[in-house]
Amino acid sequence: MKNKTKKIILLVEDNPDDVDLTLRALKKNNIINDVVVAQDGAEALDYLFGEGKYRGCDLSEMPPVILLDLKLPKVEGLEVLKRLRSDERTKLIPVVILTSSKEEQDMIEGYRLGANSYIRKPVDFEKFCEAARQLKLYWLVLNEVPTSGRGD
């Protein structure tokens, strides 16, 4: 559990305002993990599979949770999710969709592709903080992750 909290969370978000607000909400909830931000889907995939500018990086440490926006430049959020779930190295990483949309079709498609959770970003920042709190509590504290299958 100690290790887990130190692991690096991946936030995939293109809107800088939303990046700041998300980081703020996380910080307010004492989430001390480092957060890596990928500004589009392609970068997120590079980061996870050690390609592009992340070539050669150590892939042994995978994020304890990925916070994934859906409307992304280059590679769509749902496409990113699909690629993660079809790769052995990443298919077990918990993915929380964090998006503005509450379109039913997005929700259904997200869960169908193997998202673990679907959170709509509230406009009210206080509600956003509350969501972040629950997110931390569940995914970073309570949730147990199998130790094998990570390649380390």
Binding site: D20, L21, S100, K102, F125
Partner: protein, 835 residues
Amino acid sequence: MAFQLKHGKIPGHLVFIFFLLAVGIGIVGYLYYEHQKKIIAKAKQEELSAIADLKSQQIVIWRKERTGDATVIQDNPFIAPRVHQWLQNESASGLKQEILNWMASFPAQYDYKSAFLLDSRGVLRLSVSAEGESTATIAQTLALEAIRTKRVVLSDIHRDDGAQDIHLDLLTPILLPRGSESLVVGVLLLRIDPQKFLFPLIQSWPTSSSTSETLLIRHEGNDVLFLNELRHRKGTTLSLRFPVSQEQLLSALAVRGQEGIVEAFDYRGVPVIAAVRRVPDSPWFIIAKTDKEEMYAPIRGHARIMIIMVIGFIGAAGFMTSLIWKKQQADFYRKQYEAKVEREALIQHFEYLTKFANDIILLVDDKGGILETNEPAIFSYGYTRDEFIQLNIRNLRSPEERPQVDTQMRRVEEQNGLIFETIHQRKDGTTFPVEVSSRVMEIGGKKFYQGIIRDITERKRAEEALRKSEGRLQLQINRMPIALILLSCEFRVLSWNPAAERIFGFTQEEALGRHPYDFIVPKEAEPQTDLIWQRLLEGDTTAHSVNENVTKEGRLVICEWYNTPLKGEDGTIGGVLSMAQDVTEQKQAMEEIRKLNAELEQRVVERTANLEAVNKELEAFSYSVSHDLRAPLRSMDGFSQAVLEDYGGQLDAQGKDYLQRVRAASQHMAQLIDDLLNLSHVTSSQMRRDEIDLTIIAEKIAKEFREKEPGRRVDFVITPGLVVEGDARLLRLMMENLLNNAWKFTGKHPRAKIELGVIRLESERTYFVRDDGAGFDMAYADRLFTPFQRLHGSSEFPGTGIGLATVRRVVHRHGGRVWAEGEVEKGATFYFTLG
């Protein structure tokens, strides 16, 4: 029956048949008898022939044996020298005895009667004989012949002069060879007794017979001589003779050269059948014969049976003939009886007929005088029978018709009967129409007229009625708007009513007798018309068509045709009735409608496509709104909050308030966006129809409200089991909005009651949500469901003004209605139905 029969006399044809039968049977019997006779005769003849042949052969063999005996003597080389020596010298001792011994051996061993030795001059020198008989001159003559010819001589049967016994002599010349010549030294005479062997041989008969016998005869001078002893007459041997020329005598015929089977009379004068043979190498004829009587004895037995049978058959034929005759007679009498009964019935029938017939029957003489009449006449005219007899038929006519009588009577005679209508007059002067059927009868050279008269008043009336009715029908046909055309089987116009004139422009005179192809059927419509015409002639009553026709002015009209074949009583088709209606305008109108419909459909398709495109755009728009419009709001709210948190100390109360207002405005707008999106979803989303329990939905929502604001005291009265059919998501949205509304507008009251229930309005299930909150002024009731329309300020009751608009859309999408009743501070009730 083709033959007329007369009582008690057998008809000629039966007698003839019987006679034919009898003759036939007789002929058959006779032929059979003759045939049998022939078979028996043939068998007998064959038997006679066989016996004659046998006897003849036996005689030949016997004669050859005798000659053979002589040859044995001649061939003995020891005999001649010794005989010669002894004849030269009688004294030669011992020789005589030796010769005698030799001679004696013949009677002893060879069955000869006696043996004699004669010298070369025919003189008897030695004899071996039982009774010391001598040789006669016949023997000497024969001996000299044997000496001269040096050959063996066998004599005929003969009797020596003065002697009683008959015999044959076998004379053998004894030859002594002298160089190439031979010398006759003597003759050995061996005497044969025919009674001993020859005659028994001839007389023996191989079968049992009472009259059959065999004769041996020879020709001697002008006579025929019987050689052997006869069966039926004794002492005939060499003594019975008949002249050769005697007619019908068997033996005479035989010696005259007739051989084979001969029918004649024998020596007794009895008719016989015989087989005649000449015995070869002899002067003899052998005859085997049987009496005809004996021969045909078995045939006579047959003949008796035949005669009995023939008589029997003829008797049977006679019996059969008599049976047939009896039956014919019976038939004849029965028929006569039936005919008589029939005649009587007819007479009676006729009497009834004339008496009780409906028609008046009159018998009139050639002047028109009435001779006889019947009951209906008396009834119809009012005259008595006696008065009738005094009347002339002219008296029965109405005065106007009277002059016709003479002509009509003449025509009746000329045409051998006439039927005509005229008018008759009763005794009281009234008249009535009649139909007269009159005929002439000639009886005993006198002419009579028979009239059958029928009162046709009723018929005339009916005809009149029919004529009127036909007139009316014709009137209707003339006035009817439908063309009525009668066509012949040859497809020619027979009738043409005014409607036809109107539709096609041709008058009746122009149309009658014409072929429709010549004037109203255009070339293009001919194949179709041909088919229909064919069907009609086959009796099809459903031949209906719509086709183009051409009018007199050359205009094309569309006509609807209904055709019916007209059948006669015997089922043959006599013509076709065609009805036609001009449907050109109808057709044009229908074509117009069809075009409009097609256009409309096309327009609908286009509109639908447009709408679909718009809908797609709207969806894309709302998707974009839900994503992109909210992000700035989050930034506004989030950073305002961040400023308040991080720099709150540097701001005075007003600065903080401004930031709070930014946040409030952001959140309101977010709510507005959500509501708008919901509204658009209600319109664009796909509808599903399931069974939905409104009660459960309402209870869930109520529970959420209570959890959110646990301090409020609100009673929810929700009718259980409100199950409706509709889309789950939309109905939930509707209930959320309605209950949220009620919850919100009761917020100012310390206690509140919110109800969900159902009532029946005009037999329609009508649901309602009722509260006892702020209510509204009914004057604005119609604005409640318009988007962004609010009856209360947002400071009083927050809201976006979209909720009830959403409710209305949901209800409309379910095919229902929604309306509201309310009063300020008395609460509001929202009614809705769901189609």
